[in-house]
Symmetry: C2
Subunit: 425 residues, 2 copies
């Protein structure tokens, strides 16, 4: 795919210097490319990061805006990014989850990184914000994506704020909240008669077709930039802990990109001297009904065999996860694991997190908290160590999952007698 605009400012990508192949290491200029021309491996952003003055860099970050742009010196964005229209996601709460810890028998510190606080209430605002910057730089006028729901809303909302046209693609049978949320921001929302993997395949076709000319697909031709947004989760967690890496992180797996970029972010912080170098373990969480990475981990395989998803955790329902093999690498290298839970355990975990911490998670959050619980029960995760678990989305978008379990206790007439009759007094 050719560059649409050829007048890229020299500092448009900040510290990013090239795209590099994750497989063969070949480098190529910063462009809307996603596959290595040498070996077809996935491309990622390579940097020359501002090393040498960790104290100064830490101060610069701490004095920055209260969103992901405080980390602009570590992202593929222009230094003046904070001044341009953006949804300005990030700096979501890191909640000390003492009640949840007590219920789970965790004796170390337990935190929930709650990304439901983002503008469209999922972590996707982070990745889209970076993709929008790349789209603008490359001169794209339409912002697009294949999505399991959260991404569609994040893209249409970001397009609205930044004045781009949006046309997004989703499986036709998504949760009602996610469809309305994608469509309300204007732009085109196209339902595809198929699952996410069908939607994804269709987008790859469209990108090679004249109809897709001038389109920035945030998770296809802008994917190398987009993915970098997840690094900010690592940065924020460490900064919010007082510039310290936690012992253990539990992270959901859809494509696996988020988990790999959090690991990349942690390694960067160590290399820059912003945090002390120390071992950490990364655990991946999947739903049983879409557990290709978990299955490969347990079987000791190096490859991930695609599955046909069947789970209520639709935002994680990617049967052929692009970064699955890298997730396996990271879980094994750091001494972590990949585990899965069934739909009933997902609902239980959503309710557990809600009633202990007042955090209403999406099904993806239920998967992650459910896996946390399972890993503790199985003795795989150390309950005495410091643990951070991610909630990447909002329960309001997957109401269907808990609607049967979360109902009024009673309906009464507005009288004390009726109140007493209901057994509530």
């Amino acid at each position: 795919m050719a560059l649409v605009s050829h007048t890229v400012a020299p500092d448009a990508f900040g510290p990013a210097v090239a795209l590099s192949c994750r497989e063969c290491g070949a480098r190529t200029p910063l462009a809307p490319d996603f596959a290595c021309v040498e070996c077809f491996g996935p491309l990622e952003v390579a940097y020359e990061l501002p090393a040498g003055d960790p104290e100064g860099l830490r101060k610069q970050i701490e004095n920055g805006p209260l969103n992901i742009w405080r980390y602009a010196p570590l992202l593929p964005v222009s230094p003046d990014v904070a001044e341009r229209p953006s949804l300005n996601p990030g700096l979501t709460k890191l909640v000390k989850a003492d009640n949840l810890a007590r219920e789970l028998g965790v004796t170390g510190s337990l935190y929930v990184k709650d990304d439901s606080g983002n503008p469209t209430h999922s972590f996707k605002d982070r990745v889209v914000a970076i993709a929008v910057e790349a789209a603008r730089t490359f001169g794209f006028t339409t912002l697009s994506c294949s999505s399991t729901g959260n991404l569609a809303g994040a893209v249409t909302a970001a397009a609205a704020r930044t004045g781009l046209r949006a046309c997004v693609f989703i499986p036709h049978d998504l949760e009602a909240g996610k469809v309305v949320m994608a469509a309300v921001y204007g732009g085109d929302v196209v339902g595809i008669d198929g699952n996410y993997d069908d939607v994804n395949r269709f987008c790859s076709e469209l990108i090679g077709d004249p109809a897709g000319e001038g389109w920035g697909f945030v998770n296809v031709n802008l994917r190398p930039y987009y993915g970098e947004g997840s690094k900010t989760l690592a940065y924020e967690i460490c900064e919010q802990l007082g510039w310290r890496i936690p012992d253990q992180l539990v992270i959901p797996i859809a494509s696996g990109s988020q988990l790999t970029k959090i690991d990349k972010g942690l390694k960067e912080l160590i290399a820059l001297g912003l945090v002390e170098d120390k071992p950490y373990k990364i655990f991946g969480a999947q739903a049983e009904g879409c557990s290709p990475v978990s299955a490969a981990f347990k079987a000791g395989h190096d490859v991930v065999r695609p599955q046909k998803p069947d789970t209520i955790a639709k935002s994680l329902a990617i049967g052929n996860p692009a970064d699955g093999i890298y997730v396996l690498d990271i879980a094994r290298r750091t001494g972590g694991a990949v585990e899965d839970v069934n739909d009933e355990q997902v609902v239980d975990a959503i309710r557990l997190l809600a009633r202990t911490e007042g955090i209403f998670a999406e099904t993806a959050g239920g998967v992650t908290v459910g896996v946390l619980r399972k890993l503790i029960e199985n003795g795989v995760l150390d309950p005495a160590a410091e643990t951070v678990v991610l909630n990447t989305g909002d329960g309001l978008k997957t109401l269907e999952a808990v609607a049967d379990a979360a109902r009024p206790t009673a309906v009464i007439r507005p009288t004390l007698d009726s109140f007493r009759e209901a057994g509530l007094a």
Copy 2:
């Protein structure tokens, strides 16, 4: 109502020194009381605020936590409040709404204060956080409220985080999202066969009954404390503007408490020297189907005649607003106005805000943006002045309102042919 706990620490309420009657000015000690024993007027919190060193106070606030507790020196809470379990709401985004301004013909600066970024996605987290502190101080063990929906979820979530029992009361026919959100955090959610005013009357009965012993009703017997939480909206807006009061504010009216407390907060900031003294205009927004304050304003009345609500803006559907007469005072004193819009205009305004700024507002936000538009069209609000409009809730909780308008553009098969047939290429 007697104090449940009599061991109130001397600094438990920080700078608050008494409750004072809004009508006759009589003072009474800080207790779970809400009506003046002299004249039955509403009680509010009176302070001895930390005057004399505005520069030092401003620094203290700026170095405080990234939530409402940064304003603890101006709130009826203990100085160490930030260290206790809380949902820690506040410091939501003040969005420069240039796209919306352009569409509305606003030439001055226009901002949206977007309180959908709070933990349970409405401004209610602010008021409940203060009420929880008072409940703890008074030794209440059950947290309760009458609610049009948002408050119920804010109360049950806060109770979960802080270890209190919750029992909340809502009209039985609320939006599905609000019911699930209230119930998911545990505790009892009781549907009342009636409207909000029926629910409210029932709670007042319950509070005088032995069955309500030990219960803190955040918007009844804890109302004076609870209401103070809305002052933080004024503090944040001014701090986020660089310690400056905007020329005009557009604020929704349910009970009217929020609007009056924002005015109180602005006056405090002026008195403390934290902002320059300058004139500002406050505009109130109602839905036509529940517009008792707007009707009184237009008719030039000093009293508010109750209405039976019939509007999609259920979170504003209070037919007998407790603070209505004070709202009239403030709108008239500041040179503002009170206006209303019909349900169709509410939906249009939700979509307008979404497609221009990527902010998905609740129906209450649609009312406020709709009224902003109407006030500009009628020449009542100055389009050249600096204006802040409040979005107090989240569109995900009132999906029903826009579900017909926000639908997929098309559903297609995952092929380029199907894409072209749908006219999308």
